[in-house]
Symmetry: C2
Subunit: 338 residues, 2 copies
């Protein structure tokens, strides 16, 4: 910067003003400085800038398994929104779900002086661990449940599940079995709630849900166990599955047992992965607007940062933004066999 100033025949402060687009600089001076910057290939040192402004312009993201469809989509949405807002993103993804891990991750981000953090924390234990932590701050939880004391953005899992199950009941099924995802996940919990509520509203009995782990493998295994129960005489005509990947496993299990979908059994998934439409049969499922979730969570975080900077007293109102889910009816759901 000193070199640029010398070449342009001005003070370093004027260079700073030009770089930061301050208004009160003569046009001609601006040009001269710009030329000098160009010539020397100068670009400002963000570190020094951060040191003096006390703003790093970096936001942290704590994610858990970004190879899953939902988190990957959400991350992508967050990334885009962050970039548009002029923030950099520092990411740390958790290997396991131990509170230790999330504490270490938070430590790591605090150490990097992030200005705020979005945590894709789909499990209650993680959310609680985060809420108990001193830093980083501000912090927004994606898919964090209620009552954590953290601001939260989430898809309306309950409504999505409710819609899916009501759809099946309206087709004439007397009840709907449920294969849930990893029971430690909040999403899984919420979908169970929605499923149960829809059954209750219809006065239908609620069979015990089966617990999976989101993987196609677990869907397959649990699908087989439902097939076995059907063979023993239990009436299983509709299955609401916690996500599309498990639903794929379920379809497989049904197919192997010679059962037809939706002729004998209807299947509804959750997520609306791109391939859902092209499975055989195409999968009825629930669409979640993850991009929107990412966008909203960043907006919320930026809001928090803003109010903090204006010196808000104590912890801010823990806002909760809910993004609606949307049922996508396709070929895997139909009326029950007579």
């Amino acid at each position: 910067m000193a070199d640029v100033a010398r070449l342009a025949g001005v003070s370093h402060q004027t260079v700073s003003r030009v770089v930061n687009g301050h208004p009160n600089v003569r046009e001609e001076t601006v040009l001269r400085v710009r030329r000098a910057i160009e010539e020397l290939g100068y670009h400002r040192n963000s570190t020094a800038r951060a040191l003096v402004t006390r703003r790093t312009n970096v936001l942290g993201v704590i994610a858990f398994d970004t190879t899953l469809f939902g988190p990957a989509q959400t991350l992508s949405g967050i990334e885009r929104a962050a970039r548009e807002a002029g923030y950099f993103l520092s990411m740390v993804s958790l290997d396991d779900v131990s509170p230790d891990g999330i504490v270490a991750a938070a430590e790591y981000l605090v150490q990097q002086s992030v200005e705020g953090c979005v945590a894709i924390a789909p499990q209650r234990s993680l959310v609680d661990a985060l809420a108990a932590l001193p830093g980083p701050h501000p912090l927004v939880a994606v898919e964090g449940g209620e009552g954590s004391g953290l601001p939260v953005v989430c898809v309306d899992q309950v409504q999505g599940a409710h819609d899916a199950v009501r759809h099946l009941l309206e087709l004439g099924h007397t009840t709907v079995h449920h294969i849930e995802g990893d029971p430690l996940w909040l999403e899984s919990e919420a979908r169970v709630v929605g499923w149960r509520r829809a059954l209750e509203e219809a006065g239908a009995p609620a069979p015990e849900p089966l617990q999976g782990d989101w993987s196609p493998r677990s869907g397959y295994a649990l699908g087989r166990s439902l097939v076995a129960r059907r063979a023993e005489g239990e009436r299983v005509t509709a299955i609401f599955v916690g996500n599309d990947q498990m639903a794929i496993g379920v379809l497989r299990a049904l197919h192997e047992a010679g059962l037809r979908v939706p002729g004998d059994v209807s299947v509804v998934g959750f997520d609306d992965v791109p391939e859902a439409e092209f499975l055989t049969p195409s999968l009825t499922t629930v669409f979640q607007d993850f991009a929107q979730v990412g966008k909203e969570s960043l907006a919320l975080l930026l809001g928090e940062i803003g109010t903090e900077r204006n010196g808000s007293p104590g912890p801010s109102a823990t806002e909760r933004r809910v993004v609606p889910a949307r049922l996508r009816v396709r070929g895997s759901s139909g009326p029950p066999p007579p």
Copy 2:
């Protein structure tokens, strides 16, 4: 830091030494300082540290569509390796494939003073744009093709495709049709090369490959067009599809046409997504060790950073590391109909 020093009754420099684990500090002093740090909740300011050491400890990642299976997995591998090496990760993902976009992304990372960068750059134009850029440096390209002048880590796409096609030929198919991914992608190109080579080696004719875009939708559309050609009398008994998602679309198209897999037509995919095993029929595909790719690319990058720091003369040898692909034979491939 000054506060800590005062509380511990030492100089700021001694605090610095304790924080950085320097050897020559008396044990008792270390304890005293540690206690003071604890008490004040101090943690060092990474910005100030970076300013003076000229090391940000941040690596950049340029990715393109991290919602796709491969990039997401690779990113995850890179993330883990970076954290183990004590580096932070700053991510920018590209919306479109324009060279402008990648230039902006690079600019963005340079501006943040990353120490090095991994680019998941699956298209030739992107690799070329990157290679032409002044910064960031050092730079490692994942899946970047040959001849770009950049160090590259990639899966052996040619070998993977070759294995898949040879597998089909050995089952007795007289030729293998190919639905390729987005033709702009280097992976797509390489798989075409492997496919063609295997056909040539077997003296089999090579029908013109069909160009998709990796999506299930395109797989479905192209699958239908192959079905149509079959109806016109062309012998289509085996299809090697550029990725598993498109293969799902192809399976759908075949199923709709009443064709059986593998009875009438064999299908082989690429990627080995988790659900491949649980499709109906389970999908024969090619496994890519993305985690390994991520790990290797980071190792390569750290190597570059190391040699640069030791003042290597000019650009380093552009190393190229190739991770083998592995065929996973499952239910969707079998001998051709008589």
